[in-house]
Subunit: 339 residues, 4 copies
């Protein structure tokens, strides 16, 4: 049984483990006030080409989302998200638990557009309704699509013009930035959003997300919020060490590229075998539509997620690849469906 | 410069690192639904001698406190804590951020008593005031003291009689249970509290706390709360693997005993050198009162925390030892103050 | 300029004013612990034919909704509502501000059905999502429709079968219960929901809503929640006196019937003049579709709300009548559009 | 049985009732967008001598406190209050329910001082603790004392110097401003605080508190917060009409002066009879210490609140007078204790 269920099935890239083992008995300050954290921040600032950004490390994505969004908003302000946005569906109401409504918009391919955000603004006309203030996008999205440069610039411009905060969930940012048709750099992310994060958990780290805040007025007192949400890791260096390994050379991009390549190979094989897809994805998630009879057999050999029913005899499934996906298992999968 | 600043300065015991490395490329289910987590839960249930308890793993202590307390209480209910209790002082209002007041009581030696809790109950007479419902204790406490069996039984009995939830913060439970005069077992903790946790972060793990819920009505839907608070680790097995290593034999207790021994050695040396203490502690935190002139020199060689001023020329400091504290550094410290 | 903008434009029925003036200098206990409150509760229990219900008086509807829903739910639980439901749109995120997601369902005529609720349940499968627990309906609804007995029984049965709390917003309950085709009694409301409220503000009182809780496990400590939300009126008797006047005889129903009659007269006149409606309403809200040119003239003489654009030249407006609506103004309105 | 239990036992001054009756059938806009509200705001701005202030009307004091404080603070910020402060004790954790800690300081006579606030600031040194940001004072205080001009100026200066928001709970502001030794005017309140409110409920209105916000950056979007907390009264003019009556001439001050005079008369009579007091109060609350045997008889004839036990045979009670207190009942009380 091989799993294409998600991109957090395995541990971490061996470089990361080595670095953690090597530094294990050093004494460092707690709570991210150590020298590793300093180095990691410096490194990331170089990569995003913004020496003034604030960088904070977190253990997981829901933690970043709820900490950042609740820190950025006043009580009556809301986040606008795609209906399938992670904060709207898969975080057990974490944003609402901090007091804020998520205004959900039906978005083609899971991507918000200026037009959709404008529609959200237009619906909220006075103080009897929440005030949309933050725009939440995921890149790559929950269904594997990704933003191109023009789209991101459009969102950025619109948000600036309307006094909105643009926040990018980058739990799978690596897969977006290494998609074969990607045009966006880390520096673009920093330049075009007010805050975004770089996901490590799903791209070769044991755990870890690096939040980047570029908008000046969102920076103040941010560590208070991290602590209040229980998100300030005692041994903070554990996160920093992993990001140093991912970014001191190009490991972060190499791992993501591998995941994408595996997914693309899967997609090509599936297409060649005559099957179609819910959405065109060139990142590390693929959503093929399979006949139920095939799925019955497939699940004896492979693990994957049910996504949604397509019709009475067909189902959409989700296949996820990762930095650790083995090429031979991809080949075996394709062989299997061609059988 | 050697640090006695805290018990999370180093990484993890080598067995833990080895186990993580060994299992690194296995594919497992996410979010604590893997077999390691199953094994770790089974193991802990044996150790606490309660096969019906629910066990959940968290990354850190503030996370456990805020998740559990907000899950256990209704909106109008409050937690009673010692004034120096971690939730009252050092969690940036994490409990209040979930909507609940912390009723703080001045407690001798940082320990709550039935009399103090009764005083809190007596002060809250009607619906114009919060309703104290949960009693929060730390063992060992924030100033290194620990509860004896009679004290814990007294609290348990009182809480049962008054319909209160007894919750024990065990971030430093290891140091309490291995204090030379300790009478309490893990099974006692399970039997006498409604929920408690076993701290790994400060006792040899990279990170990790194991929450044990024994009271039946507190168990329902608990994983929803973990997820909502951003505390459900994607690679949940990372926590489980560490607890397996700590508890498959007696590593957890051995490591804590070492920390206590180092602290006791420090304390004896300090006492022998003619200094006194803020509080009598036999766990891994020691609070000596030193003349300021000595501190000036000491801080050139050792790192430690300022605790409070004693008088115009004396200061209380906090020295913390851990599973990783080196005996030769303890000796060097004592030699230094005897100079 | 006469206003059909809402049903809270005027003060209160004269009986209510008289009763308030007459009792003005009596000394009574504060916070609803006075004899008027006792009398009002007793009276309402008779009307709803449930001597065991708990009754609490509030100043306004948003206050009831946020207090009750946050008191009834645990942190991870959500309310299911129609997309146009008051709590979803017009309370500035009041429910989310207490920590709970509102799961919004597109509902025909603004009315939830067992099928819609089931769909909401089916979408929420595990702890990564909120848990739908409370069903919020408005009767009459935000667009003037109302539930018939079979519909309400169906909802009640479904909720019981699935462990859901059925909560009815009765800000305009009077208009629903006196609609010409209504089959539901106050006793039915008490029998078929777990909690509901009887709106006074929009039916002849200065202000005031009477919350009725029939489900036993929702009753405990409820006054704590009222106080915590700032909703416990110091001079609580002011609310009680008004409900005594509304219910000691049939004033509540007479006033609502008048409002409905005025609305029906408006609707008939509009229909006779050749215009159609967004929805068929027999309560006190009417939603005619008018050509924009007519609206331009109409708004010189009458005040009303814009509802939504129908097409390029037509607009839906909302006309609301009340206990105080003058028949001659209704006639003038109809004459005007026939001009 | 005559009640000295509180200052909200009766209804409203007759002028207020008359004004409400007279305007009863006028149609006005809802939610405080009517002309009465406009007039009331204009009137109050003249009285406070600040034409730029924002004014909002609320039904009750807890509502103002929780709405304003949660609107003014970011999630990690806390309010500093006297230990007996209303928000710390008698609002069922309303502030905490909005997510904020109340840092309680033991304050002589219930009054905060710069020294006490500084102590609070000094205790909160980093992001592991909440950040004190708002200073909450009550004038008159919960035990009847009041601030003199120098004290208020001192607080104001300290708060400005430390970037703190100074918020004054004026539920009993009338009694403070008409105390015989008072030096503070309404204009001083506006000038020296960042926000404060003028209590109507306890000074002749049916209900109503007027919040004044003078600090520019606290004004934005405030009506959103009012609505979200369920505090935006549908028939908002009801509050405005009452404040117009209270302030169009000097009714507010006359009523408060009467209450104080009655209290002073009570206090003089009690002192003359040989009894002492918990605190020296010249406002409308008096805290005599009576022998328990006297109290046994007294409570057959008068209603009052138990405050605290003084010793084994003596008890402190609270006597409250109001705009409606009858002089003959004050005389009867004094005669009774002299018996």
């Amino acid at each position: 049984m091989y799993s294409f269920k998600n991109d957090y099935s395995e541990g971490a890239h061996e470089n990361i483990l080595k670095a953690m083992v090597n530094s294990n008995l050093e004494q460092t300050s707690g709570y991210g006030e150590d020298t590793y954290t300093e180095i990691a921040k410096k490194l990331l600032k170089e990569k995003i080409e913004d020496g003034t950004a604030d960088i904070h490390f977190f253990v997981g994505g829901t933690q970043v989302n709820l900490t950042a969004i609740s820190a950025f908003l006043r009580p009556h302000e809301a986040a606008v998200a795609a209906e399938i946005g992670h904060i709207n569906v898969h975080e057990t109401g974490a944003i609402e638990a901090t007091g804020h409504k998520v205004v959900a918009m039906k978005a083609q391919d899971g991507k918000l557009t200026p037009a959709l955000i404008e529609e959200a603004l237009d619906r909220h006309t006075d103080e009897h309704m929440v005030k949309p203030k933050l725009v939440y996008i995921s890149n790559s999205t929950e269904i594997g699509t990704h933003y191109n440069l023009k789209e991101l610039e459009g969102l950025s411009e619109f948000c600036k013009a309307h006094g909105l905060i643009l926040f990018m969930d980058g739990a799978r940012l690596g897969s977006a930035l290494t998609a074969h048709d990607n045009e966006i750099t880390l520096a673009d992310c920093a330049r075009l959003t007010d805050a975004f994060y770089i996901g490590g958990t799903k791209n070769g780290a044991l755990m870890g997300e690096a939040l980047v805040i570029t908008k000046e007025e969102l920076k103040a007192d941010f560590r208070f919020h991290i602590k209040q949400k229980g998100a300030l890791l005692a041994k903070g260096r554990l996160l920093a060490i992993q990001f140093i390994e991912l970014f001191k050379e190009d490991l972060f991009f190499d791992l993501a590229a591998h995941a994408n390549q595996m997914a693309n190979q899967l997609a090509e094989g599936i297409r060649a075998a005559g099957y179609s897809f819910l959405t065109e994805s060139v990142t590390n998630q693929v959503f093929p539509i399979f006949p139920d009879v095939l799925l019955e057999q497939l699940k004896e050999e492979f693990d994957f997620s049910f996504w949604e029913r397509k019709d009475e005899t067909h189902t959409v499934i989700r296949l996820v690849t990762s930095w650790a996906t083995k090429p031979e298992e991809v080949e075996r999968f394709i062989a299997f469906i061609n059988q």
